[in-house]
Every structure is written in structure tokens, then in C-alpha cells.
């Protein structure tokens, strides 16, 4: 009988990040297509892919310039609140590809889009895809021409799936493209930007309070900007907090162009590591954060779940708000059993895998994308709880928590909400977040 291929955490830790088996390296095999891989194959279909991210700026619209196939699933996004009438399409045919004539049509198309809207858009994002990546299109130049003709800012965003594993993959580039709209403003010491996500942190995240205690009066996130003018005010920030590594390049651009320095933080579910990170941040900012109550609240929620589930066993997926290996590590350090992780290993998270191997060497690691995943059978490895949309898909028999909504759990509040959600799921109650 055929089985899905997996490796123990101990095996992988011993091999090292530079010697991963082919099964766990996505460019060494075909990519299996299942609902568990949708986030990889079509990031725009769920959460924030390039298309939705490109519309993060209030009042913006998008013109997708591509073969029809690239825009096909956009109606999934158009059906979401706030996205209706924000997508337009200029479909390409083979003659366009041969002659490049679609590029000459873009300024007129932008003008027609702007004309058909009741209010002028703040920005028109031009989304181009793999075809233009291969043609080597200079979309910056095309956008300048369109901007001159339509009289509104026009910016490119590159949905180049071909460059997904390059140095600047699409989700990195789209952040750079958005923040490139910011123009120099006088600095305000009381303003800070949170960069990285396209949806806000949970309202009760302690980070807002910690920054307020530091004297920060304006914490801006692109998703909380009411309008384009407020978005432009992000240029006055004293510093940027980078909460997702894909915003690193955008933050570096702002440092160079607008002289806004940045500090990078990591999303963690290990309570002691969150404490350490806040201590380190405090040191950089010349203060100390009083996090005792927040830490206690997170631990209380954890104990609340433990009192129900005991030493529950978990499967952790990567389609959720967090790093699968870090969350697995957090759980095993708290005494839970993690039987499986469905994830993608790389330089950034291998450190979590190493520590996971110390605490739980037999945890099995799968790649959602590997061809043998077609044989995956949950019956051979039952678990009590599955976290992540992918793990939940594999384990219909388990208590399931997708943990992948737009609003971002972060810090102690993220941990507290995770365990509260797990307790609710365990009790069979509807999970709010």
C-alpha cells in the first residue's frame, strides 16, 4: 500500500537545512494540487494574495492586465465586503504577446476605468502576471504614461508566480510597490507604523498599549487607514515595526528613501520567547515593558485549554496565522503532543525545527506539495486537534481550528486567543477567531 512520505523532526535536524530530502524541497518535484496547497498555488484565492494586497490602499482599484486565466478566480475576492467594483480586466491574447500592443492600450484602459467610476480612485494598481515577466515588460514606464493620461497615481504590482522562490517574490514586491507611494513628510516622534500585514492586529493586542505607554500617539497600519490621505501620513513615522519578513524590503526602501528606521519582530506562540522579544524591543527603545498581566492572561488561557484537553495530540498545518514549526514547538514545550507538521522548511524556520527535534524527535514532517500526499490517510495517524486549514482538511475526524482569518493574532493576545479558540473548538462551540 502506498503512503505519504514524511520524515521525523530528528531525521531532519540531523540532515540540516542544506541537506533536506527532495520531498521537502518544492522545486525538486511536481506540486501536488489539493485544498491543502491552495495557499501555495493560488495565494490570492484565500487570505491576501497579490490582488487583494494590491488593493490595501483605501479607495484604490486594480486593472488586471493578463491572459483571462490569471483573472479567473478574482470573483472570489470581488464577492468579499469592500472589494466589489474594484477589479477591472484588460485581457491579453496571443497577438498582444507577440506584438506587445497590450502595453499601448493600458493608458487608455486606465482612463476608461477612471471615467466609469463615480468617484476618482486614489490609486490604480496595474497587476501583471507571468507573461509580462517573460516579456521583460517595463511596467514602471507604462504606469507613468497611464498616470499622465488618467490624472491619478498608477502603480504596478507583479503577480509573477514564476519568481515565487526568488529574492523578491510577488508578496515582497507588492509591499514595496504600495509603500513606494509614500512621499517625504516631517517626522513625528509620536508616530509609528506597523508593517507586514494587510489586515490589522487584533484590537486587544498589547503592542498598542506598550507603544502608547512609550508616548506613541499614532500607530498606523495600512489596513486601518480610513482614506488615502491617512495612508500618506505613514510617511511621518518615527520608526517602523516590521511584523512579517515579507515587509523587510519595503521597510528597507523606506529607510533609504524617507529615513524611517525599522525594527523587526517575529510572531511567536512561545510565551517565554514573546517576553524575551519585548524585553529586547524595550532595550532598543530605551524602556521596559510591563508585560506581567498580559503574560499571565496568555498562560491562564493555556491552562484553560489544558484543563479540558489534557495532553492532547495535534497536527499543525501551515495554512494559518503563524509558523507551523514555531507553533508546534510552543505546544510541545507546554506538554502537548504534536504528531505531525505540514509545512515548508527554510532558513528562517529551521531553527524551530531543531528545537522541536530536541523536545519531540518523533514528530513527523510532511510537505503539502509532495506528490505522495495524494496517499495521505488520516486513519494511520489520528490526532485530537488539527490547527490550520490544511491540517483540518487532512483530519476531518479531529477537533479543527483553521486559525487563518484576516485579522492577525499577535503577541500575548495572539496566544491567549489561540488557546481560547482551541478551548471553544474542543467544547464544540463556534470559534470567533
Amino acid at each position: 500500500m502506498r503512503e505519504a512520505r514524511s520524515f521525523t523532526a530528528a531525521e531532519l535536524a540531523e540532515r540540516g537545512v542544506d541537506n533536506l530530502p527532495d520531498e521537502l524541497v518544492s522545486n525538486r518535484h511536481l506540486i501536488y494540487s489539493s485544498p491543502a496547497t491552495l495557499a501555495f498555488n493560488s495565494p490570492g484565492a484565500e487570505g491576501f494574495g497579490v490582488k487583494r494586497a494590491g488593493l490595501a490602499i483605501p479607495g484604490s482599484v486594480m486593472l488586471v492586465v493578463a491572459p483571462g486565466c490569471c483573472g479567473r478566480n478574482t470573483s472570489l475576492i470581488s464577492d468579499l465586503p469592500g472589494y466589489r467594483d474594484r477589479f477591472f480586466y484588460l485581457t491579453m491574447d496571443e497577438t498582444d504577446i507577440v506584438t506587445g500592443r497590450h502595453l499601448r492600450k493600458i493608458p487608455q484602459a486606465v482612463e476608461e476605468v477612471v471615467a466609469c467610476l463615480s468617484t476618482s480612485p486614489s490609486v490604480v494598481m496595474i497587476c501583471i502576471t507571468c507573461v509580462d515577466a517573460l516579456l521583460g515588460t517595463d511596467m514602471e514606464r507604462v504606469c507613468r504614461k497611464a498616470q499622465e493620461r488618467a490624472g491619478v497615481p498608477v502603480r504596478p504590482c507583479y503577480m509573477y508566480a514564476l519568481t515565487r522562490e526568488g529574492r523578491r517574490p510577488p508578496m515582497v514586491h507588492v509591499r514595496q510597490s504600495l509603500y513606494a507611494l509614500l512621499q517625504p513628510l516631517p517626522k513625528r516622534p509620536t508616530s509609528v507604523n506597523l508593517m507586514g500585514f494587510f489586515a490589522p492586529l487584533v484590537d486587544d493586542c498589547e503592542l498598542y498599549r506598550y507603544l502608547a505607554a512609550l508616548g506613541v500617539r499614532r500607530v498606523r497600519e495600512v489596513s486601518r487607514c480610513e482614506d488615502y490621505d491617512e495612508f500618506l501620513q505613514m510617511a511621518e513615522a518615527n520608526f517602523n515595526l516590521v511584523l512579517h519578513p515579507e515587509a523587510r524590503f519595503a521597510a528597507a526602501d523606506l529607510q533609504e528613501r524617507l529615513r524611517i528606521p525599522s525594527i523587526e519582530l517575529t510572531r511567536l506562540y512561545q510565551i517565554d520567547r514573546i517576553h524575551s522579544q519585548y524585553q529586547a524591543l524595550g532595550q532598543v527603545l530605551g524602556t521596559t515593558f510591563d508585560d506581567a498581566d498580559d503574560m499571565a492572561a496568555a498562560r491562564e488561557a493555556l491552562e484553560g485549554f489544558r484543563s479540558r484537553a489534557g495532553r492532547a495530540s495535534f497536527a499543525i498545518g501551515e495554512c494559518m496565522n503563524g509558523d507551523a514549526f514555531e507553533l508546534a514547538l510552543a505546544l510541545v514545550r507546554e506538554g502537548f503532543v504534536v504528531r505531525e507538521v505540514f509545512g515548508t522548511l527554510g532558513g528562517e524556520n529551521f531553527v524551530f525545527l531543531r528545537r522541536l527535534a530536541q523536545h519531540s524527535p518523533d514528530t513527523r514532517v510532511y510537505s503539502n506539495m509532495e506528490p505522495t500526499m495524494i496517499h495521505y490517510d488520516a486513519a494511520s495517524s489520528p490526532v485530537d486537534v488539527a490547527v490550520g486549514k490544511d491540517a483540518a482538511w487532512y483530519h476531518p475526524e479531529a477537533v479543527r481550528l483553521h486559525w487563518n482569518v484576516d485579522v492577525q493574532p499577535y503577541g500575548y493576545a495572539g496566544v491567549r486567543r489561540l488557546y481560547e479558540a482551541l478551548a471553544d473548538a474542543w467544547d464544540g462551540r463556534e470559534v470567533a477567531l
Binding site: 494540487s33 483571462g68 477591472f88 507571468c130 514564476l162 505522495t372
Partner: protein, 342 residues
């Protein structure tokens, strides 16, 4: 402006049509893309994907694969997958990337067959045509390759061509099979064996234009006659009062024509058929319209004097000022939403 869409998302592309035909046949289907096309095809255009596992893969192309034309890597990965999965055949489905770099599908097929001992077909879809073009190519490739042996005709056996979720707005062939005795619905509930035994059909029933080319191939190869009809069309417009009224039907051509026959029989004054998709000369009547742009549809409705519009409800946004009756007959290839009425 030609090519500019303000109301409608693009319709299902050719690559989705090809995969829809191949999905249930038990092969390894490799979509020759970087990942995004596979996400669109499976995550949006293939409703069976959420409930039925199928060996569909993305080639996971990267920029250097495309620039350097590294077909050998694709073949290596297909060989690797074939060693891990029990499959009857392999199919490679094209997308814009191989279209731009001019992939030689014939060479690719030969390389694959030499290396992995699986019969292989290729479908040179580009992502720039519509789903029915891709489905037609896939049917043709399948039957040309696998329906080669003349078998004794089985009385009452009816081969159904052109049925996929994109055409018949359902995830299985239950309703079709219920109304067509002896139906063998290729690609829906039937595997590769049924394709190989296609010559045993007494006749073929073509329920969408995507099945026509294969039906003609089977007629020429085995003498199997075919009829073109959608036996479910009548149910879709039940209860609609059309007596003395002028009707415009917008759908794939076979369903549209079948609805027309039904409505005329019920006393409609006139029925015009329009389609965004393939329009076969054999099925076209004077006055039928092939639509391409949103403006084409808006003008047709504005100038046609119709009392009733029949089609996918997504289209009604374009003609917001129409004050007649609209009748919803969903088409998955347009809206991506299953009506599940067929």
C-alpha cells in the same frame, strides 16, 4: 474598448476546460505552470476538487526553467511522480508560460513516454482561449490516443460527450444518466476504460460544443453516429411564461439551442441564441450571435427588443436598465458558481 472588462471576471479558460475533461480519468495531470494557473483551475474551476482526490499537479515552473527551457526537469519530475502514483496515463496541459516560450509539446510527449512508460497526451492550451476550446482539445487528444480499437457495438449504449461541470453545471452525471438510458458519460463517473471502449457505443450524444470534434473523430473512425442535444435543457426553463414573447438565450450553444426548441414549442414568438463560447456552424441558425465584449451584449439587449433574457445571472449587471423578465440558468464557466440544476 476591446478586451476591457468592467463588470465580468474572465470566463473559464481553455486550461480549465482541458483539466475538467481529464479530472476523473485516473491519470497524472500536469499543468505546465508556475502554480497560479493550477490554483485557478483546481481552486475555482473544478468543483469536484474539494470532494474528490485526483492526481493533478503543477509543474511548479520557475523563471529559470522558462528562460532556459528546462523541459528535462519537468520530465524528471513526472517520472518521479509516476513512480509514486498508480496512474493509467499522463497528460500535460499548457498555460501561458509554455505558450510564450514555445514549448514543443510533441517532443515533450515523446520524452515522457520514453522515460516513464506511461501513455502520454499533451494539450496545447494557452490560458488565452475559453474553456470549451481546451475541453475540445482534451477530448480529441484522449479519443485519438486511446479509442483506437473497433469493438462490437453494444445495443443501447450511448456515449455522452461534452459533459463537464463547466458545461452542465453539476459535479456528476446522475441527472444525465437518469434521462439517457445506456448513457456512458465520458469524464464524469467513467474512467479511461470507457474512453478505450468508445467504439462500442451505438451512438454518441453531444451535450456541448466541446464534444463535437471528438464525436466527429469517432464517426469518421468507427462510423458511430452522433446527435446534438441537451436532454436536461427543458427542465431549466420550466414554469417560464414565454407565450408570444421575444426571448434571448445566452448559454453554451447546445444548451442554448435546446432551450430554444423548448421555448418555441411553448409558444415563444421568437428565440435568439447568443453565446460567449464556441459557435459551430452546424448548430447555428440565422440571427444567432457570437459575443465577445461586454458591450456586444449590452448592445444586443438594447437593440434586440427582447421581453425575456435567459442566462447566467452574472450577466444581468451589464444590462441593469433591462425592464423585461430575466430567467437564471447558471453556467459555471461564466460565474464559477454551481447552480446544480442540471
Amino acid at each position: 474598448m476591446r478586451g476591457l472588462r468592467k463588470y465580468l471576471t474572465p470566463f473559464a479558460p481553455d486550461q480549465s476546460g482541458a483539466v475538467a475533461v481529464l479530472y476523473e480519468l485516473g491519470g497524472i495531470v500536469v499543468i505546465c505552470d508556475a502554480g497560479g494557473c493550477t490554483g485557478n483551475i483546481c481552486g475555482f474551476d473544478e468543483p469536484r476538487w474539494h470532494t474528490t482526490r485526483s492526481a493533478v499537479f503543477s509543474a511548479g515552473l520557475r523563471d529559470m526553467d522558462a528562460i532556459l527551457g528546462r523541459d528535462d526537469r519537468l520530465v524528471d519530475e513526472l517520472v518521479d511522480a509516476a513512480s509514486k502514483i498508480d496512474a493509467r496515463f499522463a497528460a500535460i496541459v499548457g498555460t501561458p508560460v509554455p505558450s510564450v516560450i514555445g514549448t514543443d509539446y510533441r517532443a515533450l510527449r515523446r520524452m515522457c513516454e520514453r522515460r516513464c512508460d506511461l501513455p502520454t497526451i499533451t494539450v496545447d492550451t494557452t490560458g488565452m482561449e475559453l474553456y470549451d476550446v481546451g475541453a475540445s482539445k482534451a477530448y480529441l487528444a484522449l479519443f485519438d490516443r486511446f479509442a483506437t480499437e473497433a469493438m462490437p457495438v453494444v445495443p443501447g449504449r450511448v456515449g455522452v460527450l461534452g459533459a463537464s461541470p463547466l458545461d452542465v453545471d453539476a459535479t456528476d452525471a446522475a441527472k444525465l444518466v437518469a434521462v439517457v438510458p445506456g448513457a456512458v458519460c465520458y469524464g464524469m463517473g467513467q474512467g479511461l476504460e470507457a474512453v478505450a471502449e468508445a467504439s462500442s457505443a451505438e451512438r454518441n450524444l453531444v451535450v456541448s460544443p466541446s464534444g463535437l470534434a471528438a464525436a466527429r473523430l469517432l464517426r469518421d473512425r468507427f462510423g458511430t453516429p452522433y446527435v446534438v442535444d441537451d436532454p436536461l435543457a427543458g427542465d431549466l426553463v420550466q414554469g417560464v411564461d414565454v407565450a408570444g414573447r421575444r426571448v434571448l438565450v445566452v448559454h453554451q450553444q447546445v444548451r442554448g439551442a435546446s432551450i430554444r426548441r423548448e421555448l418555441l414549442a411553448r409558444g415563444a414568438a421568437a428565440v435568439t441564441c447568443a453565446t460567449w463560447f464556441m459557435q459551430d456552424a452546424e448548430l447555428t441558425e440565422p440571427g444567432d450571435v457570437r459575443l465577445s465584449e461586454e458591450d456586444d451584449f449590452a448592445e444586443l439587449v438594447a437593440e434586440g427588443g427582447f421581453d425575456v433574457l435567459v442566462g447566467d445571472p452574472t450577466l444581468w449587471r451589464i444590462v441593469g436598465g433591462f425592464d423585461g423578465t430575466t430567467v437564471d440558468v447558471p453556467q459555471f464557466a461564466i460565474s464559477g458558481k454551481l447552480g446544480e440544476r442540471a
